[in-house]
Symmetry: C2
Amino acid sequence: MKRIFTLFATLVAFAMSLSAQSVISPGGNLTLTFSLEEGTPYYAVDYKGSPVILRSSLGLDLEGSDDLMGGFQVKATSESSFDEVWEPVWGEESHIRNHYNELLVELTQPATKRQMNIRFRLYDDGFGLRYEFPRQKRLQYFTVKEEQTQFALTGDHRALWIPGDYDTQEYEYFDSRLSEIAQLANTTTGSHASTTRFSDWGVQTAITMKSDQGLYITLHEAALVDYSCMHLVYDPESYTFTSWLTPDAIGNKAYMQTPCHTPWRTGVITDDARELLASRLTLNLNEPCALEDTSWIRPVKYMGVWWELITNKNRWSYTSGGNIKLADTDYSTLKPHGRHGATTENVKRYIDFASRYGFDQLLVEGWNIGWEDWSGKHKDFVFDFVTPYPDFNLTELQQYAGERGMRLMMHHETSSSIRNYERRMDRAYSFMVENGYNAVKSGYVGNIFPRGEHHFGQLMNNHYLYAVQKAAEYKIVVNAHEAVRPTGLCRTWPNLIGNESARGTEFQAFGGTQPRHATILPFTRLQGGPMDYTPGIFCMDIGSFSPGNKSKVLSTLANQLALYVTLYSPLQMAADLPENYERYLDAFQFIVDVPVEWSESRYLMAEPGDYVVIARKDKRSECWYVGGVTDECSRTVELSFDFLEGGKEYVAKVYADAEDADYQSNPEAYVIYEGRVESASTHTIKMARGGGFAISIREVTPEDKMVERLK
Amino acid sequence: MKRIFTLFATLVAFAMSLSAQSVISPGGNLTLTFSLEEGTPYYAVDYKGSPVILRSSLGLDLEGSDDLMGGFQVKATSESSFDEVWEPVWGEESHIRNHYNELLVELTQPATKRQMNIRFRLYDDGFGLRYEFPRQKRLQYFTVKEEQTQFALTGDHRALWIPGDYDTQEYEYFDSRLSEIAQLANTTTGSHASTTRFSDWGVQTAITMKSDQGLYITLHEAALVDYSCMHLVYDPESYTFTSWLTPDAIGNKAYMQTPCHTPWRTGVITDDARELLASRLTLNLNEPCALEDTSWIRPVKYMGVWWELITNKNRWSYTSGGNIKLADTDYSTLKPHGRHGATTENVKRYIDFASRYGFDQLLVEGWNIGWEDWSGKHKDFVFDFVTPYPDFNLTELQQYAGERGMRLMMHHETSSSIRNYERRMDRAYSFMVENGYNAVKSGYVGNIFPRGEHHFGQLMNNHYLYAVQKAAEYKIVVNAHEAVRPTGLCRTWPNLIGNESARGTEFQAFGGTQPRHATILPFTRLQGGPMDYTPGIFCMDIGSFSPGNKSKVLSTLANQLALYVTLYSPLQMAADLPENYERYLDAFQFIVDVPVEWSESRYLMAEPGDYVVIARKDKRSECWYVGGVTDECSRTVELSFDFLEGGKEYVAKVYADAEDADYQSNPEAYVIYEGRVESASTHTIKMARGGGFAISIREVTPEDKMVERLK
């Protein structure tokens, strides 16, 4: 009896060692093949019959216990399908289809009696895979030394990437062959308040590649919850990326308690770049909305006492000198330096302007005590989040805003002192509710306190989500800057209405950002969720209003308008100063008109790093809005209006670069013209170097009889 | 002009390089001499003309900047005196005199243009010194790599010490020559949930030494606020201790922002061991009470559902099996294992007993969900502090207790998951107030979360104080176990009514603690503040009620009674089970009678490691209580009652070891007898091996005519 059993077991093991199983995406575009070879799990992905991810190994290296990389047997496999349409609280479209075929591989590691499952989901535009650890006796708590997920590519693709860093994502993108990563990574310039590089070959996700065969591949992750953020490290010999997690203060990568699973590791794969933009894979791999009532979550268009601070025209601080101990400081006895931005008077000026043009909220930074000595000091008690400066009359201002149909937007800069923020969070959110705020911009500038932790480690990722979940209890929406890059969590927690987590417009005031940046973000950073990019700069010569600041905004004015369409966000800022908008009120009208809620989005033209043209339909009307941006090259596009409903006539108002516009020599030159269009119309628009265009389209009305057809 | 100035500066520098200045204690016992030699600050201390601390250097080594150890000049020195009497909210006496002479030395470091002051306070029973960093331009934020405070001793003294450890103080004391530290430190046995040793020559404070000339020296620190806890490392060649601070997760020792200062480094010095016990130096070097209203702070005598858990008779947990995720666990669906201690029924049994004998509170551990899987896992969300187990009816029990003149005492075990506790602290304290609690025992078992931090580092020290300050907002008193050793902070925050921070009675159930331990604690651990030692064990054979536990309590029953007097605390527990007290209700009467508030204390006999006899007067009556304990040796003491008021007659009730009592062979044998005493009376009492005695003394009444004179 014993001998027979042994023989049987051997046969099973032999069979398992060769076992391979494929799963095909619903429409047949993608095939993913799982195999177990000599105990090691592998996967490979084909797109339309061609390999995209070659045989790549899967597993995790554990700290203080046997690894989960080999010695496995397949216990069972199962396939299933899923197809549903869900409605996001906000998004690029009002209905999202989630359609995939799934392969679940249940593995056992006989030597340790442990179990690990790998779940694969195949979409027509990509795949997701994750490790799952069921409840079991021999694996309860474990520490991840490193995750060893490979992505073996088929060649030395062109890639759009930023260097791996545990603490900042605010880099300009490189556009290079993968083999050039190490050489270029060290040419990165610009200062970051907190930065920790770890490998010359390290990159951050989302990274978007293009093969010589014209295939687009975006690697990223979805549903980053209770785990550390994944970087990728490239091996040029094998064209292979391997996962590289963010460590904690003692060098470990993640702490797990079964039952649990990792985030999804995702690849979006397509031969049409527009489909990268249309992909909802990241959102679909997140859990459904966790909130019962979402009626209080509303997109927000806002202005802010912000750009004047960023450009150094005015200051966050109230008084001069550093070395402030908040607990010991009586601001009422201190002499103001006279350049404080968040004064009652100045804030009223913004409210007057913003309310005139229908904005929802006004962000005010520098309203609260502590800004004299907040950055780079690794302070514990750096802000209290509830005490205004003496010259900021919060009650008066919130009432002033309310009388004009607006609210103030709260600002919680934490200086990355997380212990302090968590200690004060309930009080800070209560204070917001008591004072009529319902949105907060939070910030994580500088190195993390407690020391040794990183912005993208598990402890911090748990903090960011904690802040969002707590905010939901208070019906507050959150826009977190310098937090970990989004991975679609806004599906589950739609009060996370924005993140920065990339190089935003502020860098235009710190020396500038190349025009191609805005043509890359939709394919990389925005794959995980919306970005508070803060567009809408109209005055490109910053020194003209902030003497001493030599920066020029590297964009045309029309390009700035286009960003409201091309960079999707339910939270959009008009970032420039009222006085700069006053100079070009006709162009400002586009910002006034453009909505922040959409029912449909059409990705008309796209090439990462070169150009993006997108049309979106307002969720609350029949109006459409189109935005197009280009990189450093001037481009002429032939725009088709076939996204419009057939048989209807519309009026299109075009905001385009003037003939002689140029982001370097003549950035503020634009033209505005109107014309009738219909579904069959086409129109040629020239984008200047660093330029773009914006179009607002509405149904024709009787008053429009004089409007001619658009040529 | 320039030459003259240079000459003058040289002269000053020359003079400064030899500068020495002494300060003498008010009564002349102590002389401290400061000197600056070749730019390095030194101090030395004499006691009654003999050297105690030889020339010892002072300074700090900084991380990332020049050190603060040399290159100094004396800018100014100033002397002052202080003498006041203050009234503690609770204490060993109702009035405390704070009388010292002070020397402030202001130093400059010309090469760096930085300033550092050293403040010395001389008492007749010891000294304190601290570093102060005034507000200045060239020193604002700095990081302490190591504090370099030396204590150069005069010889290889005998010492009572425990090994240096960043995470636990729960060691038995060694009684050895200083030269034997390294050899003995590694013989330490016993398991600790969190332990980090750092040097064979490292010890913790308070450490008490005795020179061959009979001089007692206790080194410790006072007012440990916003700094890391100090250890000492011994150099046997030079008989010198040097400070060694507790590091943080990245290896730094402390982070400072000027103006600021270190805690006081203290030496209590005397030729009479009783004066060590009478010293109030640690309290006096703390700031006055920070609370306006202290009326809500009351000493507490309590029992607890605790010893039955510690001895493993019953359990904290409700159900079997580990690996619980609190957020996902519905306890109402789980099967109880039947050995849960904190059941409504069992708690009522304790309340019935404790209320009959006038106790104030009943501690209940294991009342809240999470105990199935709480320890050693380094979990983040380990307890929620507000959800009772299904079989613990909190509302019913608090009412049941209230009807009997008692309250329940809250228990917050944090499992050292500090982030979780701080996130939930406001809610946890609010819950206490809503449910009638006003005292909390908190616990910090296991390694600290966030990982890499230590129990005694600056981050944790700030946490412990934060918990006490927050508690004060809710009028809650705190008894923190496994927290940093006290340094007199209870003067400033008298709602810190207790700490463990040493090896308590629980270790009697974990294999035992040698009898001498209780004769050492008053000279070491208790120098910083009261200890929740949890005395009062009446059943020494633990296996008799908790089968399988082989531990014996290494103490006689009379010794257990004495501890209520010899180990001062405003929080005293009767730690044993009701059924064990029921067996010896006549002896239990002492615990019922003994108060927890005193107006006077007299230290009658004392030798560290050998014996302690103390008399204390009740704060609310004319009654006195005497306690005496001995080590492993039997001792006969001739007790004088000269602490009693002359001309009055008293009745003394003596609880003594029976003639054949012995902590090993016959620990529960005691005798009780009464007799009349007066100020001139003496009485001879024999303490058994591991024994002791307790006496309650009250004024004679007419009913006492039959009571004979005590012989």
